[in-house]
């Protein structure tokens, strides 16, 4: 049990964060809050990868001439880091596009609260 917690506590926290983000997307009425939820969810996935790259006794994946590169155990796994750079960029851009959308929504309906918005949509239809 202790081993499980020691080896996995970060993962549990991050799974929790993922759920918090998902919760916000599902249940929050304000579109901005949904976007915040989205950010949280994406961050949790990013952290997930990053923590998976960790090795006990490893150092940052930049060549250290004193250590050499023969033993890969001396460096953290660089692959997840690289992947997450991409994921962060994607997250940012998604955010930018979603902002454009809520600005457009606000321009058309003068609200970004989902319940109000649905009401106005129904009135319009």
């Amino acid at each position: 049990m202790i081993d499980l917690i020691r080896g996995h506590y970060v993962y549990f926290f991050l799974a929790g964060l993922f759920l918090i983000g998902l919760y916000a997307i599902m249940f929050k009425g304000n579109l901005m809050k949904k976007i915040i939820g989205m950010s949280i969810m994406q961050s949790s996935v990013i952290l997930f990868y990053v923590s998976s790259a960790y090795k006990d006794g490893g150092t940052v994946p930049v060549l250290d001439p004193r250590r050499g590169v023969e033993n890969p155990d001396l460096y953290l796994n660089p692959l997840p880091h690289c992947l997450m750079l991409t994921a962060i960029v994607v997250a940012v851009v998604t955010l930018g596009v979603s902002f454009a959308m809520i600005i457009d929504i606000y321009r058309n309906y003068e609200t970004i609260e989902e319940p109000l918005l649905l009401e106005r949509l129904k009135d319009e239809a």
Binding site: V62, A100, Y106, R107, E110
Partner: protein, 153 residues
């Protein structure tokens, strides 16, 4: 936003900050081979410096620094630099993006790769910087109903 900020503190702070951020951005980009950083981070920093300029100087003045219409096109150019590097490798006889085959004489494959990485990082920097600026500009310049800005006090 659209108008220049009226607060002198912001004016001065941002004007002082802009070149520093730009310098850091360029450093981050060029030093990406050795330390954390690279094209994307450099691009974001450069973009942020321009955005801060926009915030401080207002829409009209900042056009002198950087005209907003050309950002998207330049962003395409940035990505194109990247893709063209890949294509050049293809024409040099290797696979797409295989920098070892870049048609530049006198360099061994590792050096070519080093150079290739620099080239594409440059592409990324330009692409990201311009794209972010474009997003900013579009958000700021898009027409709004008059009532919208009034809600923000």
């Amino acid at each position: 936003m659209r108008e220049a900020s009226t607060s002198p503190i912001i004016q001065v702070a941002i004007r002082g900050l802009m070149p520093v951020i730009q310098l850091v951005g360029l450093y981050v980009f060029f030093h990406g081979h050795y330390s954390p950083g690279g094209g994307f981070q450099g691009g974001v920093l450069l973009a942020v410096s321009v955005m801060l300029g926009r915030l401080a100087l207002g829409l009209e003045m900042s056009q002198v620094v950087f005209r907003s219409g050309i950002a998207v096109g330049l962003s395409a150019v940035g990505v194109m630099i990247y893709a063209a590097t890949g294509l050049a490798a293809l024409l040099g006889g290797g696979e797409f993006l295989n920098y070892g085959f870049l048609p530049i004489p006198g360099l061994d494959p590792p050096a070519l790769r080093n150079l290739g990485i620099l080239l594409i990082e440059a592409g990324v920097t330009v692409g990201v910087m311009m794209a972010l600026i474009a997003i900013y500009d579009e958000i700021v310049e898009s027409r709004t109903e008059s009532s919208v800005l009034a809600t923000f006090e």
